[in-house]
Symmetry: C2
Subunit: 134 residues, 2 copies
Amino acid sequence: MSEIKKINHVAIVVGDIDQALTFWRDALGLELHHVEDVPSQKAVVAFMPVGDSEVELVKPTTDDSGVAKFLAERGGGMHHLCFEVDDLEAKLADLKAKGVRLINETPIELPGRKMAFIHPKSTGGVLVELYQLI
Amino acid sequence: MSEIKKINHVAIVVGDIDQALTFWRDALGLELHHVEDVPSQKAVVAFMPVGDSEVELVKPTTDDSGVAKFLAERGGGMHHLCFEVDDLEAKLADLKAKGVRLINETPIELPGRKMAFIHPKSTGGVLVELYQLI
């Protein structure tokens, strides 16, 4: 079974990146590494490393994504919890064999990384992302 | 300004620890360090180390706590995000000076640790805990 290595990131949905940074960077004191448009996720993301993990501030750029609907329905807040694994396909196969409901049965591949989401129905209400550096 | 060292833990509210462990331990593969009754938080907590952080599964033991109300109103899910700092009083003073609304203006002290919560109104909807080992 592929091991869970660490929390890769905690994703927080925000309505405005600059406004959110007045708390997370300017008041709390997290470092802002960079802000990046991530079209595949229909979002702008601020990456804030902390320890060996990251806080990611995610601002939806369309109205039709999961994060946009989350923001519209609940307001800002923690959206998902991402763990890093060393063999994503093996982990997904193992989870599926154990009856866990996956949102992505095969990984989404992006340059340098691949990822898949586990359905909150199988986790007790937490959207869990699994992430592998490639 | 006291530095944020790392994510200490992500707290997840659950209705049943054993049921939650069938996902977090048995399927996902996190290690269960121990389960502890924490009367000061009116909860039983399962501590699951991962990388240099922890996932904490929190089951309310009364009906009148914040986690109990969260569970009753929203169901299980991510409850708060805790960062470790090296000087909690200094960090709280700095946050207060910057206009951040604190739930605890002075730390809650427990054996070996002290902690304080920041109000979600000041963070964009995330309940943030600050934690110092002592």
